[in-house]
Amino acid sequence: MYRYDAHDQQIVDERVAQFRDQTRRFLAGELGEEEFRPLRLMNGLYLQRHAPMLRVAIPYGLLSSAQLRSLAHIARTYDKGYGHISTRQNIQFNWPRLEQVPDILAELAAVQMHAIQTSGNCIRNTTSDQLAGVAPDELADPRPYCEIIRQWSTLHPEFSYLPRKFKIAVTGAQSDRAAIQVHDIGLQLVADSSGEIGFRVLVGGGLGRAPMVGVTVREFLPRGDLLSYLEAILRTYNRLGRRDNMHKARIKILVKATGAARFAELVEAEFAQLDRAALALPDAEIERVQAFFAPPAYEADAAEDTSLADRLEHDVAFARWYRRNTVAHKQPGYRAVYVSLKAPDQPPGDLTAAQMETLAALADAYSFGEVRTTHQQNLLLADVRQADLPALWEALAAAGFAQPNIGTLTDMIACPGLDFCSLANAGTLDIAAQINQRFDDLDYLYDLGDIRLNMSGCMNACGHHHVGHIGILGVDKKGESWYQIQLGGSSANEASLGKVLGPSVPAERVADTLAEVLATYVALREGEESFLETVRRVGIAPFKDRVYAEAC
């Protein structure tokens, strides 16, 4: 993984000192609330009435075991002993005290981490594919480019006061696990006919209010021009994006208002006038950063192991976990292993300090000392020797990490909702618990197959409900939590936004409603058709008819 040199370290250290001074001036009354707000947000700090929150960046999802131990220490010292993995490769701590945040940031800096630009109207943490570098379907590793973007976007003088937040995602694989179509900028590594590596560039995707799928503005951008092109897009947005209404300030609204073709022209015109040589990325720099992501020392004979096949044949529980929670690796004899943070008795994405430490030890023992976070609020051990899988499985199970539900209905994404978020309209964690309780039969879950269930506590959509195969949106009805159900969303290759099933349902009816939806799928599916494929083929009408039939 990337290691800071003296320059990188200096910047995060000086950033901590700067925020310490800003906090001091705020507490002394020299800096007004309105003026302090963007400063603290650009250091990841939300101050909400009942639960403050500090969002720490995990650049492109990569953590060393030492960093994870430091996060455990922070959770214990400054929080109530746990952290929350978000959908955008961040970890969030609740309950930090403002006066202590500079100390937390200093602890992070000591392990080459930061909370820079994890919130605010600036370029956010650049995200990527959790299987980067190990996925068999990968053209090129996206992480070096994410790191290059991280450095370019850190304290960018021109783009720190944008109209609104700005999110970039990069993927290098055929199968899009980074949701590039629902980001402000999505980058897909591609090769042109001569084999040169570059990017397909998408702009204007985004969730939240007015969700939109991004449009392609460039089919092939040579990789050396990456930063010039990003500046062209950002400058166009910084100058033309709306600033009069925060709900209309995202780049997606600008792209829609100008029209995709015209917007692409504006960007190309800016790009043509930019001093491209000034920002050109030399191959040597790309190679310097790539060297940090070189494959670890895999054992050449790992595939010769026969113990795995043997265990799979004789141990049903292990085989079940293996099928659901591990995926193929490009190195023969290795697997990537999902660490499920979706045990039925815990809020999705939550992780205790003790669990972090256990995981750090497992990473050291089995996966070259690295852990990754996923967009589905799980973790991943990316480089596990197949012969080690049984031992790892047992250790994960002991720590509550082996719920064999990855990719199934109960591997749901949920934002913190009413329990932790002051913007929430409705609870999410109690609904997650209700769903877990209702759908606790693994055989039924496996029969249903891959289903992405995403839940948000309000229309800000932090739980990405628009792109769940099943999306649940909490709404407030006269002070009560109700839930709108959507079907047919996806953030993968053929991205689509879910369609609303019908009137919202009361809290106690959510699991029952899902049961009707799922029964409809089971009745209508053809052959091996997945839930999403069935919804796409038959539309939402049959689901609607069944769910609302009884009500009339």
Partner: protein
């Protein structure tokens, strides 16, 4: 009024004129941009340097044709969160080669000075309530920059 240039306090040699204030017989003046089209001739004949003040809506492209006649451009930040002026400044400096004074004015606060100076503002006109010592310190808070800028010819990746 507190003006910072190159990390030091300076005195203002420009006089700011309102929308209808008559031109003095001589001396350096900054006038609102709206006066330029109407009074271009008088302003160009003025005995002293002439600058204009623009808001966030005005663009570098609009100013480009008259840059040789201008000794200063003041870009106003009505609220510090309006970041358009940063792009305008960079374009004026980098694309249109403006070498006169580029002044940030309006809601100019301590915590944005570092960015302002990096995009090409050479004169920072602090909002009156800002503490001068903290402002000067803020300009020295970072010793490393990833990007090129007015204070750094090359991005860090060419200097490692």
């Amino acid at each position: 009024m507190t003006l910072i240039k190159d990390g030091r306090l300076i005195k203002d040699h420009w006089r700011r004129l309102g929308p209808s204030e008559p031109l003095p017989p001589a001396g350096d003046v900054i006038v609102p941009w709206a006066r330029w089209p109407v009074e271009a001739e008088a302003l160009q004949a003025h005995d002293g340097a002439v600058g204009v003040q623009i808001g966030p809506e005005e663009t570098a492209e609009e100013l480009a044709p008259i840059l040789p006649a201008l000794g200063a451009i003041a870009i106003e930040f009505p609220v510090f969160k309006d970041g358009r002026g940063y792009s305008t400044a960079r374009l004026l400096r980098e694309r249109y080669g403006f070498t006169g004074e580029l002044r940030a004015t309006g809601d100019v606060l301590i915590d944005q000075l570092f960015f302002l100076q990096r995009v090409g503002f050479d004169v920072l006109e602090l909002r009156p309530d800002q503490k001068v010592q903290d402002a000067l310190a803020a300009l020295r808070q970072f010793s490393v920059r990833y990007q090129a800028g007015a204070d750094e010819a090359q991005p860090l990746y060419r200097r490692r």
